[in-house]
């Protein structure tokens, strides 16, 4: 029996493949947040006067509150099953960098719940009256924003791991931390709809995403370790 060690990139890739395969076998779980986002964003045009200027005014808020709540809904899926069936313990004890493995899991979580939001954001934005010229700016903002939301949310999910009914606590932990993403994301969307330069809020969103990617793995590993105690 060859007992050759596996490199971290190979281990992370294998973990991502495992989580993607599990998600494919439970597609409903992954599609739920996307459905929620689409329903929430399309409810706004249905419940307001079909006046284009009014829809464009509320579009940034509708898009970003929808994205934030949808991302919160998806967070419950991130560690719940692995925590319950002991797989998280096995990850912590496999000898690979735990923070890196959790980052890999969070990356899969973004692929399954954040990326679909990015892909349907133009559809939701169109329903809210956003002009086509605004789509690149909106796409970039949602892309950076969902990355940051996944990373921030993962830390909250780690902290709430040991609590059985953790939904309300998760919301309390994550929503305040996600406020900057909401502010700059909505600002970028509003500027894009008005046809003005969106670089400033996009840079800030990018900075939040990079900062989250830098700090979140360590905070996440510490949070999950507390949950495993």
């Amino acid at each position: 029996m060859s007992a050759s060690r596996v490199s971290f990139p190979a281990a992370a890739a294998l973990l991502m493949a495992r989580d993607l395969r599990l998600a494919m076998r439970r597609a409903g779980d992954s599609l739920l947040p996307l459905g929620f986002f689409l329903v929430v964003t399309t409810l706004f045009p249905l419940s307001l006067d079909p006046e284009l200027s009014l829809l464009r005014d509320i579009a940034p808020a509708a898009l970003w509150v929808g994205a934030l709540l949808s991302s919160l809904l998806a967070l419950d899926l991130l560690f719940r099953d692995d925590g319950q069936d002991g797989a998280l313990e096995q990850l912590a004890l496999c000898g690979q960098p735990f923070a890196g493995l959790l980052l890999a899991k969070t990356a899969v979580h973004w692929l399954l719940t954040g990326l679909p939001l990015v892909l349907v954001a133009p559809l939701a934005a169109t329903a809210l009256g956003a002009p086509y010229a605004a789509m690149p700016g909106i796409l970039a903002a949602v892309l950076l924003g969902t990355v940051a939301l996944s990373l921030i949310g993962a830390v909250g999910a780690g902290l709430a791991l040991s609590i059985r009914r953790n939904g309300p606590l998760l919301a309390l932990l994550v929503l305040p931390l996600a406020v900057p993403v909401l502010i700059f994301g909505a600002r970028a969307t509003a500027l894009a709809i008005q046809g003005e330069p969106v670089a400033a809020p996009l840079y800030l969103l990018g900075a939040i995403a990079v900062l989250s990617a830098t700090l979140a793995p360590w905070a996440l590993a510490a949070a999950v370790r507390i949950g495993l105690e």
């Binding site: 069936d85 313990e89 096995q90 004890l93 000898g95 105690e229």
Partner: protein, 205 residues
């Protein structure tokens, strides 16, 4: 030498002091069994030995080195089997072995198939784990354990849900493990009897 040493372990869980100055050594080539009533701290002790639960006081050394000095290196040397198997119900037994072990070492399909055959699961490799019984799932977890190549096994009630045949397989696995000079610490209600290797027990109060 594959020795794990626990020195003066103290641990509280809420208001209850679970470990009170516990000291022991489990040497390579022996199986140390931890016994005690429900709630006496067997699981907590094993989790502390893994490094999952921090100690209030005391030290744990593996091969003479404190386990907190280089946790990744220590974890790559140990295999832990807890109450939960750490297996995914939506994956097949073979996929569980491949994904579970693949994080630690290179593993081939032949390795996985051979381990499942040895555990009496030759026909079940392609079935989703949720369709197997609790005892069969435990056997899959034992198959994974047997392929880890870890020098230290920390097992929490490994015979749980196993039938007589499964318990025999567990004893054979333990015997083969310790006979190569590796160590095992096993929390159990019923003492396991290995035929050719020293077995010691520590009773928690």
């Amino acid at each position: 030498m594959n020795d794990i040493e626990a020195e003066d372990l103290h641990l509280w869980r809420g208001d209850v002091q679970v470990l009170r100055g516990l000291t022991f050594v489990a040497s390579g080539g022996e199986c140390l069994q931890i016994t005690g009533a429900n709630g006496s701290g067997k699981t907590t002790l094993l989790r502390a030995l893994c490094g999952l639960v921090p100690l209030e006081q005391g030290r744990i050394r593996w091969r003479g080195m404190d386990i907190t000095a280089d946790p990744s290196a220590y974890h790559s040397e140990l295999a832990y089997l807890g109450h939960d198997n750490g297996l995914k119900g939506d994956l097949t037994a073979t996929e569980n072995l491949r994904f579970g072990l693949g994080l630690r070492r290179r593993i081939t399909a032949t390795d996985c198939a051979g381990a499942l055959v040895r555990m009496g699961l030759a026909e079940h490799g392609d079935l989703p784990l949720r369709r197997l019984s609790a005892g069969q799932r435990r056997r899959v977890a034992l198959a994974r354990l047997s392929l880890t190549g870890a020098a230290l096994w920390l097992l929490d009630e490994p015979a749980a849900n196993l039938d007589a045949g499964g318990q025999q397989l567990l004893l054979q696995l333990l015997q083969a493990h310790v006979s190569t000079g590796c160590a095992a610490v096993v929390a159990t209600h019923q003492l396991l009897e290995l035929s050719d290797s020293p077995v010691r027990s520590v009773k928690l109060q």
